[in-house]
């Protein structure tokens, strides 16, 4: 658990932040790829129709 006054909390970017950042970036890239390659060409209600 983080402590506001913990001196260790000030040391660089923690590993968990890097892991979360990479996951968020991968999800974002996948979303953009799907959107560009036709899957998202008509993103909206009709796209969700089976």
């Amino acid at each position: 658990m983080a402590d506001v006054t913990d001196p260790e909390a000030r040391l660089g970017t923690p590993l968990w932040v890097k892991v979360f950042g990479v996951i968020a970036l991968v999800v974002l890239v996948l979303f953009v790829i799907v959107f560009i390659t036709g899957g998202g060409a008509m993103h909206g209600p009709a796209r969700h129709a089976p």
Partner: protein
């Protein structure tokens, strides 16, 4: 800074709204599974019909209540809104989920319209999209719960700068309190 009494009140409201949102998403997930798996045509149509009003009257208000109380709680407390990575990630999760939910209301209206038309084949009424979106929302909200409970360490560059300023001020304060003679 908020007074301790007000901070507790806002924290109570934030936890209530956030946990309520999580529970509503789980209920929505159950509804989506029911709509996809039930053999009863009326149950299938009913499940997809009720999603839009349920989301509009429960999910949307709870998501914004969670966002608003979370922002007040962070800005009025010691953690700040942009100082710690875990608070920042929670903010991003909340904002992303709320925006996607608002955009998704359009899809839910479409799904309800399809379910309301008795001429539409039941196979077309069964739509996997709500299940997919509710599953993704549940995953995001569980990550937010984990971040809230564990509060993993890590200051943002802004938080580190503020912390250095705070320590400088504290040292200056100590220096003034104990002047060298």
């Amino acid at each position: 800074m908020l007074s301790p009494w007000v901070r507790k009140l806002v924290l109570t409201l934030h936890v209530t709204a956030s946990v309520g949102w999580l529970g509503a998403v789980i209920a929505f997930l159950a509804l989506a599974v029911l709509g996809l798996t039930s053999q009863d045509p009326q149950t299938v149509r009913g499940a997809f019909l009720v999603m839009e009003p349920a989301a509009g009257s429960i999910l949307v208000p709870l998501s914004f209540a969670s966002l608003l109380t979370g922002v007040i709680q962070s800005l009025g407390g010691a953690w700040g809104l942009f100082r710690h990575y875990w608070v920042l990630f929670k903010l991003l999760i909340n904002v992303t989920a709320s925006i996607v939910l608002l955009l998704y209301m359009q899809t839910l209206r479409y799904v309800a319209g399809v379910a309301a038309d008795p001429a539409t084949d039941l196979a077309l009424v069964r739509n996997p999209s709500p299940l997919l979106h509710a599953g993704a929302a549940l995953l995001l909200l569980l990550v937010a719960v984990i971040l809230s409970v564990y509060k993993p360490r890590g200051l943002t560059p802004y938080g580190a700068r503020k912390e250095r300023e705070r320590q400088r001020q504290r040292r200056r304060g100590v220096g003034l309190a104990n002047p060298i003679r």
